[in-house]
């Protein structure tokens, strides 16, 4: 394991590793999914799989918003930005994600007015500063970013700013977990629950996973000590044959979440009947659309959206990797046609994507460049 002395409580790491070896039944194979892309990044960065016994397998979940967005949505968003006078605003993470005819950054190079913003409210500010233009904010993210979009919509309404709209791609984590549990080719024994998403939604929304599905879930922090301790908590439950929601990240995550954030989301968004996820297909009630009250700021109602559906490049196996059926290195394009410098699939773009994490920490280990990190665009 890397950089061990810099971690919080190195002793705890040693104790947790020993406890994991003691609790893990050598005759059993454990499949534990970390739902959040931030955890995927941390696990690879810290080399945590090196300290786990070989019968504990970590499966990388769907919690990387850039990675689960189907290419058709990127194409749709970019098509709207071709309308005259439209400014396409998005987070830096989106800029290198390939659409059928190139990424937003490549469209910018061809003359499209594409701007990086660090906050949805900066997109609104861009609209205030450019009254003759229309600013379309390409919104992505789980519940960590959705409340900020919600509040920005409320501000646009209260200030009466009409040259602003949101192309909404916000998704919610719970239906994705349900889809994974319902999928016949995915056998998961337990879940490491997302850390910062849970500061918004709290721990209650996970209760059905334990109660109805009998799977333990532990909401976890991001340091090695946190993740190892969460695995200890999961193994304890599995060895006792119980299933509960536990909160390892209590120092940050309140059990009830952030009510003001949830209220803002409830006011501005509506659940879409279904939404397509890369790798997981259509999942019902898994994404947020914009509520009728805010229709004037809904890019999908302000403009005509084509509703493009694009299948991923044939050779790329993003879907299988996203579902954990294949490891990134098992994809035919991995490290050859598809690298963080020239990504074919979205999993290679974001530092939270499992392909980029594998490439930077596992693949380069073999080539002597292990510690290089892809910085987000």
């Amino acid at each position: 394991m890397r950089f061990v002395d810099e971690f919080r409580d190195p002793e705890l790491i040693t104790r947790a590793s020993e406890e994991i070896r003691r609790l893990a039944d050598p005759h059993r194979h454990y499949r534990i999914m970390e739902v959040c892309g931030g955890h995927t990044h941390a696990i690879h960065r810290f080399g945590l799989t090196d300290v786990l016994p070989p019968n504990i397998e970590l499966i990388h979940g769907p919690g990387c918003p850039v990675c689960v967005l189907p290419m058709g949505r990127i194409d749709d968003g970019l098509a709207l930005a071709k309308e005259p006078g439209v400014i396409f605003a998005a987070f830096g993470d989106m800029m290198r994600v390939p659409g059928t005819h190139g990424s937003p950054l490549e469209h910018k190079a061809r003359g499209m007015d594409v701007r990086i913003v660090y906050s949805p409210s900066d997109a609104l500010k861009l609209a205030r500063a450019n009254p003759e233009k229309h600013v379309m904010f390409f919104a992505i993210g789980f519940e960590t970013t959705a409340p900020s979009t919600a509040l920005t919509l409320m501000r646009a309404e209260s200030e009466g700013i009409r040259n602003f709209s949101v192309f909404c791609n916000h998704v919610t984590i719970i239906p994705a977990i349900r889809a994974i549990l319902d999928s016949p080719d995915m056998r998961i024994d337990a879940f490491i629950g997302p850390g910062h998403v849970s500061t918004v939604i709290g721990c209650r929304p996970y209760e059905w996973i334990a109660r109805d599905e009998g799977k333990p879930i532990v909401v976890s922090g991001f340091e090695p000590a946190d993740l190892l301790q969460s695995i200890v908590m999961l193994l304890r439950q599995l060895s006792e044959g119980t299933a509960r929601v536990e909160n390892q990240y209590r120092r940050v995550v309140p059990w009830e979440g952030n009510r003001a954030a949830l209220a803002a989301m409830a006011q501005t968004f509506t659940l879409r009947p279904y939404f397509e996820w890369r790798g997981l297909g259509f999942i019902s009630q898994s994404a947020l659309g914009i509520a009728d009250r805010y229709a004037a700021w809904d890019a999908e109602r302000v403009f005509q959206v084509q509703g493009v559906r694009v299948t991923d490049p044939k050779a790329a196996q993003c879907g299988e990797v996203l579902k954990g059926v294949l490891k990134p290195v098992q994809c035919k394009l991995f490290g050859k046609e598809c690298t963080p410098e020239r990504p074919v699939g979205a999993l290679m773009v974001s530092s939270e994507g499992s392909c980029a994490a594998y490439y930077n920490y596992e693949h380069r280990k073999g080539t002597g460049q292990a510690s290089r990190v892809a910085t987000p665009a």
Partner: protein
């Protein structure tokens, strides 16, 4: 985007109560407090920030933990770059205007 950035509230805006000046590792920018309206933070308190909005209040020790986590993950530079990019309360003409459609 999913990893929160810790910041210390250094100044509240009396005229714009939803904005506060925060300090993130020496970089000072305005962030939006609208999502903490049930329990607004005071000057000197610490918050976790996502995309320009304070999302939860935390203790000083947790803030230090979170900054170290970002460092260990190699995400601290990107986090500071994000905070530098927040444009709230900045004069309007600072927006890049060079590449109009």
């Amino acid at each position: 985007m999913c990893l929160a950035i810790p910041g210390k509230i250094v100044e509240l805006s009396p005229d714009l109560p939803h904005l506060a000046l925060v300090d993130v590792a020496g970089v000072r920018r305005k962030v939006d407090l609208g999502l903490l309206q049930d329990d607004p933070p005071a000057v000197g308190e610490w918050v976790l920030i996502h995309v320009g909005f304070a999302m939860s209040k935390i203790g000083e020790a947790e803030a230090a933990d979170q900054m170290r986590t970002l460092k260990l993950l190699g995400e601290d530079a990107a986090a500071i770059e994000e905070v530098r990019g927040y444009g709230f309360g900045q004069p309007e003409p600072t927006e890049p205007q060079a590449d109009g459609a």
